[in-house]
């Protein structure tokens, strides 16, 4: 519990076989960003809190967001066909006078779409805001009003989703949290990296002075009026604890100089 008036940080572990964080793709090709979007995280929190699509989300969109990429995953393209499950022609967007959708004419039976997912990815999302709001959101995510999903409804989050609250600056909190990968992945990495105590993980942080712009801050989720605005972000690498114990007899083979470290290799 945080004292009133203080800021607090909520940590979410966004992991599942599949996730999908679209930002501006429409129609038949639904793409995903390589990391969670602010609108995706805000949407998840709003769904947990039981807000309708028409509800105001300004307070949530105003929260600071930091994303740490613990496991980048890879891109999956899902070939997805849409047809009426009763074998009828698909319905068009036009409606008849009494509000019933008309069938497509000429009859169209299958609609092909491409949907992209991130497979096998793990992200650590830190949400920073006023203590009371963060506490309310933590409770909401543990007792969500709607089933939560990672960007698309079929992407059910794997547990644990909530890692709890931390105090401190967003970046420090993200740096301090242990690396969220399976033991097998960690040990494999350790064998290649002399069981180093820290791993450099790419991170994206909200920063008013940042040098990059993302257009994914939701102003409204209302179905006929979905609008977004921009935010400034900054990329960095954070040295996160691996939980491994370095072996002093086998120092890292780089001799302390690793020119590719900046690239996150």
């Amino acid at each position: 519990m945080t004292p009133p008036g203080r800021t607090s940080v909520l940590l979410l572990r966004l992991a599942a076989p599949l996730q999908s964080w679209g930002d501006r793709s429409m129609f038949n090709r639904r793409e995903t960003r390589p990391e969670p979007t602010k609108s995706g995280v805000v949407g998840l929190l709003a769904a947990a809190a039981g807000r309708s699509r028409h509800a105001d989300v300004d307070d949530l969109a105003g929260l600071g967001l930091g994303i740490r990429v613990d496991q980048p995953g890879s891109l999956l393209r899902d070939y997805h066909t849409v047809s009426d499950y009763r074998g009828r022609p698909l319905l068009s967007a036009a409606v008849s006078a009494n509000g019933v959708q008309k069938p497509t004419s000429p009859a169209k039976r299958t609609h092909v779409t491409q949907r992209f997912y991130l497979q096998d990815a793990v992200f650590l999302a830190a949400v920073e805001g006023p203590g009371e709001l963060i506490t309310a959101l933590e409770h909401a995510v543990r007792h969500p009003a709607f089933p939560l999903s990672l960007g698309r409804r079929s992407c059910v989050p794997a547990q644990p989703l909530v890692l709890g609250q931390r105090t401190g600056a967003l970046e420090d909190v993200l740096r301090a949290e242990p690396w969220q990968v399976t033991k097998a992945v960690r040990n494999r990495w350790g064998r290649r990296n002399s069981n180093a105590a820290h791993v450099d993980l790419p991170a994206t942080l909200d920063d008013p002075a940042g040098d990059e712009i993302r257009d994914d801050v939701p102003l409204s989720f209302a179905p006929t009026n979905r609008t977004f605005t921009t935010r400034r972000i900054r990329h960095t690498y954070l040295a996160a604890p691996t939980g491994l114990t370095p072996d002093p007899d086998h120092p890292p083979a780089t001799g302390g100089h690793d020119p590719f470290a900046l690239l996150g290799w």
Binding site: A93, S154, P223
Partner: protein, 384 residues
């Protein structure tokens, strides 16, 4: 209904070599999870199968009781918004509903389905008379019917939906008032172990023409794999009740039909070549009052391909389930399972014991469905 009530359905099911959900290359869909390749069946494929099964199994609810229920719901709303006596409100509600002609059953197309209305629609109809309720009640039957005819009741009720839509949702991008939020969430099914994509090379020979043409008439390959799948779905009961206009009984029926359909259906891709229809080796239902819990993390470390992937997968699921409850200290409201593993068999003894610790003794699937219903009903009763 404000209470959070989620029904999780976990299924472990083994399919033989098959290709039940293919991509545009004709190969079974896959995903990488835990660093290894897995077989995948997309949520949309299994939902379609579930929905078709659901439609054949679930009888249309009886029109007369349904109309009575809508009338009750509407009456309650009119009482709330106008403060009229119940009898007067009932009169108003019935006058309003008379316009829908619900009792006659309209033309036999889509409207042969009995339509349900969400709370928003019932609110809209109650709001039509909120202003002038006192004046309307003062009128006699005939004058009341005349007055109510002027109101756009049919328009407010035009976007009803059958029970299937209450479960699976409806999305019409251009006409948001037709949208219904799905009560069901289905995850992509993935194998609990590593799979390889294999190819069946086939040649087709023209039986009529063996003399002149000794070669094959056509050659090709069919991609396939075999997998023990972890399938997960959850039903948000509050959303389902809302989609059914507050009708808890209809929601219980729909839930029961969904559980039956989700467990026993399967996508039909290439079924004549592979005859892949199996039934699950484990079905677990869990009723929770906090949040849905997907147990896929139990399989992030792939199950090793030694004896009994199926039993090992079920054992891991049971242990993940008990581990979850231990870690978070939140016992679900109710959990039960139907499965095939017995303690008499040495290879499945551990699995059966782990499952018994997690879900109690295995019960037949029909009993699982009945007790699920009983538990939800009593949970709702305590709330009321």
């Amino acid at each position: 209904m404000t209470q959070r009530l989620y029904i999780d359905v976990h299924v472990v099911q083994t399919v033989p070599p098959a290709n039940l959900n293919r991509d545009d290359q004709g190969n079974p869909k896959e995903a990488v999870f835990g660093g290894v390749r897995r077989s995948r069946v997309s949520s949309q494929a299994w939902k379609r199968a579930t929905r078709q099964h659901f439609d054949t199994q679930v009888p249309e609810p009886d029109r007369a009781t349904r109309t009575k229920r809508i009338a009750q719901e509407l009456t309650a709303r009119i009482v709330r918004s106008t403060g009229l006596e119940r009898d007067d409100s009932t009169r108003l509600a019935e006058a309003l509903l008379a316009q829908l002609g619900l009792s006659q059953g309209k033309k036999a197309s889509d409207t042969a389905y009995l339509l349900f209305y969400g709370n928003a629609q019932l609110d809209a109809v109650a709001a039509l008379v909120a202003e002038r309720a006192t004046d309307l009640v003062a009128l006699d039957e005939k004058a009341l019917a005349e007055e109510v005819k002027e109101l756009p009741v049919v328009e407010s009720f035009s976007t009803g939906h059958p029970v299937g839509v209450a479960l699976f949702g409806r999305m019409v991008a251009d006409i948001p008032k037709l949208n219904v939020d799905a009560a069901v969430q289905v995850a992509h099914a993935i194998s609990t172990h590593e799979t390889q994509l294999e190819f069946d090379y086939f040649t087709a020979v023209d039986d009529q023409n063996e003399r002149d043409e000794t070669g094959a008439g056509m050659i090709g390959t069919i991609g396939f794999n075999s997998a023990t799948l972890y399938r997960y779905a959850t039903v948000g009961f509050a959303q389902l009740v809302e989609n059914l206009g507050g009708d808890t009984d209809a929601a219980l029926d729909a839930l029961d039909g969904f559980v039956d359909g989700f467990v026993l259906s399967a996508p039909t891709g290439y079924q004549n070549s592979f005859a892949h229809r199996t039934r699950p080796s484990l079905v677990a239902v869990v009723v929770r009052t906090d949040q849905p819990v997907n147990l896929v993390s139990a399989f992030e470390e792939p199950v090793a391909t030694k004896a009994g992937i199926q039993a090992e997968s079920a054992r891991r699921l049971a242990e993940a389930y008990t581990g979850e409850a231990r870690t978070w200290g939140d016992a679900p409201l109710y959990g039960a399972a139907s499965h095939i593993f017995t303690t008499d068999e040495p290879r499945t003894k551990d699995t059966a014991e782990a499952l018994a610790r997690a879900f109690g003794e295995s019960v037949p699937f029909a009993d699982l469905r009945t007790t699920l219903r009983t538990h939800i009903t009593s949970a709702l009763g305590e709330e009321a």
